[in-house]
Symmetry: C3
């Protein structure tokens, strides 16, 4: 028996919205400590890693480990029926073939419950190596979203270069070139407005804007985003969820054909 | 000569918006007491019945009974040019072939007038039998709209079952099942927020969600909706218009192939 | 060397938005006194004339006259990346093949710079004759926009007739006819709300609504629009830009086949 109640139910909805364009089918792995979703996108280019610890929930019970295989488009359809203020309760039997999702309105006398059919999905649990990144950037998540959305107009790939002074996003395309420089600003009053750069040495990596744009679907989950980079290894783009969870995206850099 | 002036002109616009997706052509029947529109939808599945009594108008004159045949898409196009605060005046000659629609701005020095071509439409005046319903539900119109819109994602037909405790809307489809329960709540402070159930015995009927969704186009006309049901006869879904009119939709229930 | 800095940078963005659906390629003519864009639309039916005097800019330098040939769709793409509050700086070398556009955020620590490739465009400098118009209408630009947008639903051409009492916009089409009369109202409190008519004699001209609608893309640039007409010559539709510029559109009237 798995049962979890989340007063701020929209977090769950936003997680599914964040991954549904990247991932067709996935497992929710439920354990005593947490629920987790971990999978490659459908083109096997990027990796998504979601964790919500049991402490994030108002009520949490998981008698034995469960893998709940779901179709993300279908789960997203059901979450469409959720109001932003609804409390969400998720339930699954140990050997059931359905996930019960309940939305309790906090404003009206309405309760909705749905049975989503579950499916068997090959669970390829991926070990994400603990990597030492030599450059970490914290910046407002909406600013990151805007930059990668805007630059997409100019070209397909974006170079992210980080120095102590700031982070530069650069694109070259048919109609011209564009650079957006966001300067270090660790002293901003609101935490989410801060631009904090921690680095050992400058890093410069190139990524497919298409994927960076997919990742920014997670923007509603967090006011800031943390971008961790090191040469030749995948970038990690993390959106912390409250204080008890996160959604992380990993994407390998492009190898530049002729570096000069 | 027919002439009617409505200070809250947007009511007329909203009535046409409510029926234009259901009904292609219809007659406005003008008499000394009221104007009325009554017709089947284009597929002859549901019935629409609109009445605005002469008392609803700020000025009303109808020398002899008139049938004004109009195309609802064309009338809707003309209402698109109306501002929400405009006063509407409608005029027709006894033997004319056009309806004059005037929109007087209450905010700027603008007056717009339009001549809509009228047409002959076979007027099949339908006698709606006075039916004893054994179950009547009053609920917020926006809540009803949201439920039938949301449930459409899961399937094509919706079961409405009513007990003293509340009303349940249920859908079964490919991706799973869904139930929305709205509980009786006759004591809500605002009248439009109340859920009031009056019934002799529980009723359970099944309807095409497509039509229920058409009907909810009338939501802007009324804060609450009244759903009247009895076994084996068409449901009546009524949106009261101020205190001097209404728009009612009638839809036959689906006969379930294997009832248990 | 050309360099111009505009604190209210969105004016430049709005100018490009105003003309980009009409004009594919055009030159920005830079002189010591002003920058100007003047060109026919792609179908050679209407003429656009934009001027921003050097005084409109916070910093302005133009060492020698330059023609900067640009593609309006591409420039519009770059302006999409501008925030509404950004300061805009434009720079071009005397013999360069690119225009540098810089957007400086006034709210965050972000600076964006873009290089837009320039192109050679045959510069057909058009002498616009000083015409004595015998009828000039000033009206709210949003009202003009709404009228020509709304009337498009009824037909393709619109008659504008002006008398001392007001201006009438008339359309006749398949579903009926429509007239919108906007009355002279020179005493309105806010200048942009005024309807001011100056005329020697009544004028009545017919225009393609499609083009009038293109012109109203300039609405965000000015609270009021000035329509100048005289028989048999092109109408001039002017949107003043602050006190140091304007965008003017010219369109020849339609010759009516059978005037009565």
């Amino acid at each position: 028996m798995f049962e979890a109640r989340l007063v701020e139910g929209k977090i769950f909805k936003q997680i599914i919205e964040s991954i549904k364009d990247l991932v067709t089918d996935a497992n929710i792995e439920c354990t005593e400590e947490e629920i987790a979703i971990q999978c490659m996108d459908s083109a096997h280019v990027s990796l998504v890693d979601v964790t919500l610890s049991a402490a994030a929930f108002d009520h949490y019970r998981c008698d034995r480990n469960l893998s709940l295989g779901f179709n993300s488009a279908n789960m997203s359809k059901i979450f469409k029926m959720m109001n932003p203020d609804d409390v969400v309760v998720m339930k699954a039997e140990d050997n059931g073939d359905a996930l019960t999702m309940m939305f309790e309105s906090t404003k009206t006398e309405t309760i909705a419950d749905f049975e989503l059919k579950l499916m068997e999905i090959d669970s390829e649990q991926l070990a994400i190596p603990e990597t030492p990144y030599n450059c970490t950037i914290q910046m407002p998540s909406t600013e990151f979203q805007r930059i990668v959305r805007d630059l997409q107009v100019l070209g397909d790939t974006c170079q992210i270069s980080c120095t102590k002074e700031g982070v530069r996003f650069s694109v070259t395309g048919n109609i011209g070139t564009g650079n957006v420089l966001i300067r270090s600003n660790a002293a901003a009053e609101k935490e989410d407005d801060r631009v904090v750069i921690e680095m050992q040495e400058p890093v410069e990596l190139t990524f497919a804007l298409r994927y960076l744009n997919f990742f920014t679907k997670a923007t509603p989950l967090s006011g800031h985003v943390i971008i961790s980079m090191a040469p030749d290894i995948p970038v990690m783009i993390e959106y912390p969820i409250s204080e008890t969870g996160h959604i992380k995206f990993f994407l390998a850099p492009k190898i530049e054909e002729d570096a000069d």
